[in-house]
Point group: C4
């Protein structure tokens, strides 16, 4: 789960310019992983005890996130190709699914008094992200840049940390 | 101990299809390492204090697990070759041995009242895994895919976390 | 954020001598990252609670620091080229900006009684580093070695940990 | 500070045999790093508070240990060459020096009642390691295998964790 940038081939401006797509995909993935990191921090604030299901749901999330460095480097190397752009979104779509399963495992373990259920409520932003990811994956095969713009929109949408949980915890 | 996937050579479906064996070996190893991670979490739940022997037994386990990324990439690159398939299993056989030694070091340190000994009892699943790994290593030289199927069976068998310990801890 | 050195090409003294610029840039970046690590340790000593802004300010700092391994390897490979030398400084200039934003986010969260504000006061060293980084980036295009010498001076200047905070904490 | 093994070139026994020197240097370095890890664990058992000097002494130790993966891979690739064998020992000689400086920084901070000073006493094993490392570096230029044997002896000598500290802590 360690994002990596390769060293530019050469020492001049042309070598640096050539890095732009790789840098942008690196930046976007850093923001996405940062969002997961921050929301994960907030999520486990309302978790007192874990069980086996929660550990597995957490590992399931980690699995998809562990693929992000490869998909990031792939799309960075082929910024105008449909397939890498689509796969980039598929991995985040699956990570988002894993996130929902993790929340569900925590809520089930906490039972009727679940603090997390109270904090999340309708989860409009989560559902909207899903829709945007799904559209992006489909549109990657029409115009890759549209998909890439949608990924950037989802990232911006989540840059504000999840105040719903935060307000319950503080 | 960081599993890695290489970037596909090319941006099309052929490049992606070519990655399938590497992806499957990555997935299998992720599950195995996740099993160790989860069971390790449960194991140290019943450990109050560590001594030098436990630290070394733990490092011994880490040594074999640290070889998993190399054996995973090797078998992923040569999915139909007997030797990489066998070595993949040998490393997990040695990791399983290290796991038993770690349990034994903890039980010895805890003495007669060992909570871990009470939690483990006959350890049927552990002994069965041993047998399956050993058969897989031998059968890798006959048909690599049989060995690979056996690895998948062991992984599935352990996907359920070790409830024996969990039930004592909760 | 893991600094890396490549293995020398060959087994003799010539191969080792060839590594000198890469080793020096590795050493310099190790010191810079060590400074951040140490000051970060001292900084969070005076932080009791974090909020979303602090988490994001922290990730923003991590983003720039995560680029250090690439810029380090790039300048190590091209020690006499202006652009890699300048970019090396730009990344640390941006990391220093992120550090100030992190301090500001903590002070805002702590309010009027901020222990951090009392500990930092005029922050002469911080401002001087800024000026030196900025001069280094500009001078990299005149004589790269002048910029490299300025980086080394900033590193030496910070090698002494931030006693202003330490004295308040102890 | 992450040891790495490369994937064998090929899928047969010859490719595996070719890995033997790399595997042995990996194993030796794993043991050395494990020794530092274990002793570090014991060392910080007798440390209640850290100051800036201790943090820097710790980073100084980490610097030399962070070079171990490169020197390990270099000697693994050139097992019969004198220079890589000597440099491998030089890095551990410098790490051992850094360890002594770290102990000294802790003892100075703890003052007259230092629990660590009482636990260490004459440190015969530490002084002997120093001598063996120094001889190994010199003898690497005569017969590399003698130096390699001496490294293995030092590793074996330290495999038993530092009971002097342990006995005081327990």
């Amino acid at each position: 789960m360690v994002l990596e940038l390769r060293i530019p081939h050469g020492a001049g401006w042309a070598a640096l310019r050539e890095m732009v797509p790789e840098f942008l995909s690196y930046l976007l993935s850093f923001v996405f992983l940062g969002i997961y990191w921050n929301n994960h921090h907030h999520l486990f604030h309302v978790v007192d005890r874990v069980n086996g299901n929660i550990l597995w749901a957490n590992l399931h999330l980690l699995f998809w996130l562990s693929l992000v460095p490869v998909t990031t480097a792939w799309v960075g190397k082929n910024p105008s190709a449909p397939l890498p752009t689509a796969i980039y979104g598929v991995v985040f779509l699956l990570a988002a699914t894993a996130w929902l399963l993790l929340q569900a495992a925590i809520i089930r373990h906490q039972g009727a008094q679940s603090k997390l259920r109270a904090a999340i409520r309708r989860d409009f932003k989560g559902k909207l992200s899903f829709g945007l990811y799904a559209w992006a994956v489909a549109l990657a095969f029409v115009r890759p840049w549209i998909a890439q713009a949608l990924y950037a929109i989802v990232a911006l949408m989540w840059l504000v940390p999840d105040r719903r949980i935060e307000s319950r915890v503080d």
